[in-house]
């Protein structure tokens, strides 16, 4: 009797374990099912590269180039903030901060990580955007520049904690060897520790990028909302995530617009999937390079 119960439990757990796989598969299936119609109607190339996104016109146009460009610009802009600040903070925590400082600063980073994206978006909209508008004399503060800035801060804790983890894995013996050769702490940091943590740091950057690309509410509230390819960094833009969020409410279920939004979702999913795979490979290389084995 006991044996049978044990076996039942074992199989039960096995099924539960596949839950993540099932949900992932479910997401893929749903995305594919709902987006295929628009690819059939418009054709994938035209969908991706047409720069006119006019879903509500008669006849509607479904080109997501301007949306993709917007996502790319904002993500790259966010990287310009979160990589230096995140990496710099990680290096500071690793090498310079005293234990007291670390005890204060690590929670600070964790708090920054915990602030909900809607709050970042709200803050960006009511404080940062007007401030930048006055400071820089631009027509509107709700633009790609502001979105990049706020998004960059949002992604900083991600970059910082993963980079810091990577740095802590570098064996102390490398540092000792470097100092014993007469290098100072900065040289040791930049020429030995950081290169040794290279793959781990790239993982941090890629995950930061992944976070930035997938972010919705912040950019929805701060990026401005114009579905056109921007001419300057200070033009309002509409990235992919914001488009889905803003237009899903008005799209009629089953309409081409509806399917087009799901298609955008599919592309977003694929992008983050690629980032994830890159991260997996990078972290595996990291461990081998340091001689830590698999």
């Amino acid at each position: 009797m006991l044996k049978i119960r044990e076996t039942i439990y074992k199989y039960l757990f096995t099924i539960f374990a596949f839950a993540s796989l099932i949900f992932l598969a479910g997401i893929i299936i749903v995305l594919l099912k709902e987006s295929l119609p628009v690819f059939a109607e418009v054709g994938p190339f035209k969908f991706l590269f047409n720069k006119f996104w006019y879903p509500t016109y008669e006849p509607p146009e479904f080109g997501i180039l301007s949306l993709v460009v917007a996502s790319v610009i904002i993500t790259l802009g966010a990287m310009c903030v979160c990589v230096p600040v995140g990496l710099g903070s990680a290096l500071y925590l690793h090498e310079i901060a005293s234990p007291t400082q670390r005890a204060i600063l690590k929670p600070v980073i964790e708090i920054l990580a915990g602030i909900p994206s809607i709050v970042y978006g709200f803050f960006g909209m009511v404080i940062v955007a007007p401030f930048l508008q006055d400071l820089l004399g631009i027509p509107t503060g709700l633009c790609a520049f502001t979105a990049s800035l706020v998004l960059g801060i949002m992604a900083t804790p991600t970059v910082c904690s993963i980079a810091e983890d990577a740095l802590s894995f570098v064996p102390r013996s490398f540092r000792e060897a470097s100092l014993a050769l007469g290098a100072n702490r900065w040289q040791t940091l930049t020429r030995v520790t950081m290169p040794a943590a290279g793959s781990g740091i790239s993982t941090a950057v890629v995950l930061g990028m992944s976070r930035a690309v997938g972010e919705t509410m912040t950019v929805l509230m701060v990026a401005g909302g114009a579905a056109v390819i921007p001419k300057s960094f200070f033009d309002p833009v509409r990235p992919m995530t914001a488009t889905i969020a803003a237009e899903m409410g008005e799209a009629v279920m089953g309409s081409p617009h509806f399917h087009a939004l799901f298609a955008i979702g599919l592309i977003l999913f694929l992008i983050t999937l690629i980032f994830n795979i890159v991260t997996e490979i990078a972290s595996r290389r990291f461990r081998i390079k340091l001689g830590l084995g698999r």
Binding site: P171, S173, F174, E176, A177, S178, L179, A180, L181, G182, A183, N184, Q187, R191, V192, P195, A196, K289, L290, G291
Partner: protein, 253 residues
């Protein structure tokens, strides 16, 4: 001051935090000779040797009392340049620690951090150092390979070469063969005997036979104090202290 004395330790006490690790050490290390530090585990020999290139500065709460000098200059004076000191006093660690870089870059590291950019000079120096460390033939065709692909004994000789590249005057060996097989150990011991012509060598070892094979003078430490110091032959055959004799005959340690 005796021109043959390279490093002199006078009444050295060493604390980290509240613990006193070394008590009243008085030692003289002669130039171009090999001095061994022996003693049971925890007797302070590694701690002492790390004072000589101020690696103990990395320990929180570390404090040195007494006078430690090289060529008459106080190593712990407030104006002393630690970075410069570490170029003049090199160290080879217990566990080989080459950087995760190519063999070439490992040796070149010390040169580059000192601002040397001349590519030809660096290449020349890398080859010389590898030759002096008796490893050149084995790696000459794979200087761009990752140093971690070498065997343990080769890695240790690489670390020695890395140290030689910056022209130190003194080389400290902290139990260099502890993690190596007997053949690699022998190669390194032969290397040490060759190197002593040009460098002052201080070696910490828990292997008494090694000390007997390799060194000219030996210091025996126990529980942070110096028990006896003298020419190796004398210390091993007619030790003056009873404790030395007991240690050498394996009665403890």
């Amino acid at each position: 001051m005796d021109p043959n004395v390279k490093i002199k330790a006078e009444e050295i006490d060493f604390y980290y935090g509240k613990t006193r690790a070394l008590k009243g050490i008085n030692l003289e290390f002669k130039a171009n000779r090999v001095t061994a530090l022996i003693g049971p585990s925890g007797c302070g020999k590694s701690t002492f040797i790390r004072l000589l290139n101020r690696m103990n500065d990395l320990i929180p709460g570390a404090k040195v009392e007494g006078r430690l000098s090289m060529d008459g200059n106080d190593l712990y004076s407030p104006k002393a340049d630690v970075v410069r000191l570490r170029r003049q006093v090199g160290m080879v660690f217990q566990k080989p620690n080459p950087f995760p870089k190519s063999i070439f870059d490992n040796i070149a590291y010390g040169l580059r951090i000192n601002g040397v950019r001349d590519r030809a000079f660096i290449e020349e120096r890398v080859r010389e150092s590898l030759k002096k460390a008796a490893i050149y033939e084995e790696v000459q065709n794979r200087l761009n390979d990752n140093a971690l692909t070498l065997s343990g004994g080769q890695q240790q000789r690489l670390c020695i070469a890395r140290c030689l590249a910056i022209e130190p005057e003194v080389i400290l060996f902290d139990e260099p063969c502890a993690s190596l097989d007997p053949i690699s150990t022998r190669k390194i011991e032969e290397l040490i005997l060759q190197l002593k012509q040009d460098y002052t060598i201080i070696i910490v070892t828990h292997n008494m036979q090694q000390a007997a094979r390799v060194s000219d003078d030996t210091a025996f430490l126990y529980l942070g104090e110096l028990v006896e110091f003298g020419p190796t032959q004398e210390l091993f055959t007619v030790p003056r202290q009873k404790m030395t004799e007991e240690y050498l005959s394996g009665r403890f340690g």
